[in-house]
């Protein structure tokens, strides 16, 4: 752990039933940078965000956010910490009974006593920042997936947080929206001096904006460092190379090989054994 770490995980263990999610994980997330938490589906990336937000507590170990031990903090200090935090949920999690404007104004109305005129002005600024001023009066159901996620981003930024958590922001987005979100996340982080934690399994996108990357697999950290450092580690780490290059699993067991052969035969990529034998007999006769 270093003094410029905003979030630290110290020997964190966490299980759900018999399923072990984290087994003695140590992570230091640097202040003022974009950190990408990556790994295959089901490795506990979203769980990690919930541990940071204090929605769940580790079985053992410590999670610190700006010095606050989140697992043991009082509900009052936890609420104070959450006011300095913004989170973009995987599906946006917009309040479906409120318009886009009301969604963005929600945290301001809950946590400030600002006059309505001031709130409207701030909401306009946030919606402008994500390029969605024209959708202000629309209900979430009328927004496209990309627009809904940008409204959710504006809402997460409403209270000018120090820390932004992004849960799979690129999932289900078309390439143009992915580009827009990438630009927004990078520029907001730089302009507002945020600390950002980005959970994703979209390798290319996450590596293109991350300053620091942590790769998780089977309840452990497999690799960490800058994107360049990670690429340098690829040759000596089979899983890391497979994950970063998006290669499928190779099953070297006898059953796995047989199933792969059957599948390839069914697709016509390999000749069927009976046809192969007939072809070989024909060759012998000739």
């Amino acid at each position: 752990m270093t003094s410029d770490s905003y979030i630290t995980f110290e020997n964190v263990h966490f299980s759900r039933g018999k399923n072990r999610i984290f087994d003695g994980v140590n992570i230091a997330i640097p202040r003022g940078k974009i950190t990408a938490i990556m790994g295959p589906s089901g490795t506990g990336k979203t769980t990690l965000l919930r541990l940071i937000g204090g929605q769940i507590k580790p079985d053992s170990g410590t999670v610190r956010v700006d010095g606050l031990d989140v697992g043991r903090a009082s509900s009052k200090s936890l609420l104070a910490m959450r006011r300095r935090l913004g989170m973009l949920f995987q599906n946006g999690a917009l309040f479906t009974d409120l318009t886009a404007v009301e969604n963005v104004a929600f945290p301001l109305r809950e946590h400030s006593r600002l006059p309505e005129q001031m709130i409207q002005r701030m909401v306009t600024l946030k919606l402008q920042a994500v390029g969605l001023l024209e959708a202000a009066g629309q209900m979430p159901a009328a927004l496209s997936g990309g627009m809904a996620r940008r409204v959710a981003l504006a809402r997460a930024l409403a209270l000018d947080p120090e820390l932004m958590l992004y849960d799979e922001p690129f999932t289900g987005q078309d390439p143009i929206n992915v580009g827009v979100l990438l630009r927004l996340i990078a520029s907001l982080n730089q302009a507002l001096g945020l600390t950002s934690v980005l959970v994703s399994h979209d390798v290319t996108e996450a590596l293109s904006i991350a300053d620091y990357v942590v790769v998780l697999n089977q309840a452990q950290i497999v690799a960490s460092g800058s994107p360049d450092a990670l690429r340098a580690q690829m040759s000596g780490n089979t899983f890391l190379r497979q994950f970063l290059e998006g290669a499928p699993d190779d099953d070297h067991s006898e059953l796995g090989q047989r199933l792969a052969r059957n599948f390839a035969e069914a697709l016509g990529l390999l000749p069927r054994p009976d046809k192969a034998a007939a072809a070989s007999r024909r060759r012998e006769i000739r």
Binding site: G53, T96, P107
Partner: protein, 266 residues
């Protein structure tokens, strides 16, 4: 022989599992009630939210309650007239209809309809908010969902029930009047006079109000609990909604017996 023994043991295991699940569910509900109690008074710092729920839960249930009240009054008037006419006591029709409605049918039938109309809607709404991570998003924004979402809905149910039950009884008495006086020719002065003479506001009306307040609180609690603890899947929402209607209806009928025995028992 062994087969019978195994089947018996399997049955015993299933019974034990069901008992454990029921105990866990009850324990969860007690904990939830404790957490909610702490938020009930602070919820009044935002009265606008409670008024919104009064509208969504109470006003929007008016149609079904008023129509049902009317029909129940019509049936009571008809059945009451047939029975009372055998004893030449049709002048007591008004008080019979009014007492049946104010003491029993008003609170109970309104509560059963309320559980089906408003209780299920509250459960489904909260459960869907949970499934789509809206409650989680609130938590991460340092907004307490129990105080912001759950407590106003609970208050909405508590205040709506006595008002709806009162309206149900009023419309029912009107229905009884229509059948008894307008259609079957009972003396209107007897109909209203007997009600005025024999109904005790402090006994009959107040007890009816207490019943409907208790039913409102129970239905409200079950509805918000089931929604808040629903499994975040479409099947989970469906099960939670069903549980709300079933548990609320059974609780209302069971509590009605206990309250009636306490209020009017010998």
């Amino acid at each position: 022989m062994n087969g019978h023994r195994n089947a018996f043991l399997d049955g015993l295991v299933l019974l034990g599992q069901a008992a454990m699940a029921a105990a866990a569910h009850s324990g969860q509900m007690v904990l939830f009630t404790g957490h909610l109690l702490w938020r009930l008074l602070p919820a009044w710092t935002r009265p606008r939210l409670i008024v919104q729920e009064l509208y969504a839960i109470g006003v929007l249930s008016l149609v079904i309650i008023l129509i049902s009240g009317g029909f129940v009054g019509l049936v009571l008037g008809l059945q009451g007239y047939n029975i009372l006419s055998k004893f030449n006591a049709t002048e007591s029709l008004g008080v019979m209809v009014a007492l049946s409605l104010v003491r029993e049918l008003g609170p109970v039938v309104t509560a059963l309809l309320f559980a089906g109309r408003a209780g299920s809607a509250v459960t489904a709404e909260i459960a869907l908010m949970k499934t789509t991570e809206q409650l989680s998003a609130m938590e991460m924004m340092a907004v307490d969902p129990l105080r912001r979402v759950v407590a106003p809905r609970f208050w909405g149910a508590v205040f709506s029930m006595p008002l709806l039950a009162g309206l149900f009884s009023l419309v029912g008495i009107g229905g009884g009047y229509f059948i008894g006086v307008v259609v079957l020719g009972v003396d209107p002065a007897s109909y209203w006079g007997q009600i005025q003479q024999q109904m005790q506001p402090m006994d009959d009306v107040l007890n009816g109000v207490i019943k409907s307040l208790v039913f409102g609180a129970v239905i409200g609690l079950i509805a918000v609990f089931e929604g808040f603890n629903a499994e975040p899947t479409s099947l989970g929402i469906s099960r939670a909604t069903t549980r709300t209607v079933v548990l609320s209806s059974l609780s209302v009928l069971g509590l009605d017996f206990i309250l009636t025995a306490w209020m009017f028992g010998a």
